[in-house]
Symmetry: C2
Subunit: 289 residues, 2 copies
DNA sequence: CGCCTATTTGATCTGATTCAAACAATGTGG
DNA sequence: CCACATTGTTTGAATCAGATCAAATAGGCG
């Protein structure tokens, strides 16, 4: 049952929120980890100390939510924003006849319903994929924060623009790439985004996404996802067992999936930043026909 | 040839821009028409006189661009924003092997590359569909404007959020609806948006989109679009001849395409509206839940 | 009129869906 | 620790929506 009082058929159960504490985690983080919102924002714009203090003063609370639970529902009118701290989540829409389209996957550092800050009514659902730790911040606090620190507002706006860029790339995938390419592309995207969070490039990744979720994300049937995954394995591109994905050659997989990271607008690809290389000369070029 | 100096194979020719005048059109509009940017913004938030004056002082220029010409290219780093005043435009991506995915269609009042205001590098192209009148405003001016009038920044942010909502709905269409439904859905969307601009609901619409463009927008082949259009005609849902679309029953077409207008977040569907209500005290605050 | 672009038609092929059932893994409670 | 339930993966067979290829029409326009 959502805010409108109507059941959403086929939706995941709504999360029973178990409160963990008020801001405690955020204000006194363990292991010298900076506040996750600050880390997120700093990947968009570097912040002044004053701005960072502004963020720290925000009253967020942290909750934990089990796997496959709805955090927000289509039609809801949330009064706070949710930031994923740990775990996997996704945004999706349910359509008549129970069809589902997953619109994006989210990992630590992603804000999943910033949409609701300016547009009151949700037009999609957000659900966890794995158990998640989620930080919840009242709209009121966010609005005050960006009122006092316009650059933070700018950073959040930028974040939603990157969101949109990812949607566009998915549209291209779903509309114009084969099943084989779509899966390869998605794997590259998520691997790249996970690399950006952990600040190093790996080849082994946490992959809690089921084949039916993959299908719903890529506009394919579960059966066909299964067979296509087998092809990818047979071609030596990946190993996927349990919930671990190993990418044997990132370059080959990217080639197959036509993946180029520009649309993610990671600092490293945009201009100056952390991660690895990238030849500026090649950036943004349409691949030669 | 784009900003990187490289040809984009398969792209439309880059617009040869014919300058029409500096701001003239915008400052002294004919027929008592308000400034189009103001009209656009007012559909998102109502503006104070001071804010309106701020908009009026902006130095925009108006240009005309012929049909099927690129306005901005993937990889470009524009230094201004483009607002469509008249005509049809679209955003698209080109992929290897010449495949194209159209991501959105645009009509008068739409800003097509607000993306570039905060993210320097374009990750998509913008092209005209028909001859267009386009207003061009330097980033610099827009940035100054929103610095002085934060609510205008908020309105623009909101606009990009609606953009993203439309992308999401398209993803759902392409990923999970049949060809028949996709076409019906797109027709409903555009009809609804055109109604919003002209402020009345009609049944006859300008439809300059070719079948091959339709296919590229919906992830279908031209041939299949053709046959599906014939089905829609045979079922008495539409008449499409020349560049005029007549929708015989909006309700039936919406049913077929599973179209509901909420995701467009038009003022009338979202409760917090523009023309009515709004007290100065509320300025900058989120609309009441 | 002739050129170019858009639409239409026909025939054929295939990537992907659907339905159904078996199998594997993981967890749960007794 | 096992029996059982649940959820996810795999397999096979039949079918279909939509793609592809190729060629014929129909419009629009200089």
């Amino acid at each position: 049952v959502n805010a409108t009082g109507l059941a959403v058929p086929g939706a995941y159960p709504l999360a029973l929120i178990c409160r963990r504490g008020w801001a405690a985690e955020l204000k006194a983080p363990r292991r010298n980890m900076p506040n996750p919102l600050i880390r997120k924002l700093e990947r968009l714009y570097s912040l002044s100390d004053e701005e960072k203090n502004g963020v720290l003063e925000i009253g967020s609370r942290v909750i934990e939510i089990g796997p496959r639970q709805d955090i927000v529902r289509d039609g809801d009118r949330p009064s706070d924003c949710k930031l994923i701290l740990e775990g996997f989540a996704c945004r999706y829409k349910l359509m008549p006849e129970g069809k589902r389209q997953i619109m994006s996957f989210h990992i630590g550092g992603d804000i999943v319903d910033l949409h609701s800050l300016l547009l009151e009514r949700m037009d999609y659902c957000v659900a966890t994929v794995t158990r998640c730790k989620v930080s919840i911040t009242p709209h009121q606090s966010v609005l005050e924060l960006i009122e006092n620190h316009p650059r933070i507002g700018r950073a959040l706006w930028k974040d939603t623009l990157i969101d949109a860029a990812i949607f566009r790339e998915w549209m291209a995938s779903i509309g114009r790439r084969s099943a084989y390419q779509r899966i390869a592309h998605l794997m590259c995207e998520l691997a790249t985004r996970m690399d950006a969070v952990r600040l190093e490039k790996g080849s082994s990744y946490d992959w809690p996404i089921t084949q039916s979720e993959l299908g719903d994300a890529l506009g394919l049937s579960t059966v066909h996802v299964n067979r296509t995954l087998q092809e990818l394995r047979a071609d030596g591109l990946i190993t996927l067992r349990g919930s671990t994905l190993v990418i044997h050659s990132r370059e080959r997989l990217a080639n197959v999936g036509e993946f180029t990271p520009e649309y993610l607008h990671l600092a490293s690809t945009d201009s100056a930043m952390v991660l690895n290389r990238r030849t500026p000369a090649m950036a943004g070029r349409a691949p030669p026909g």
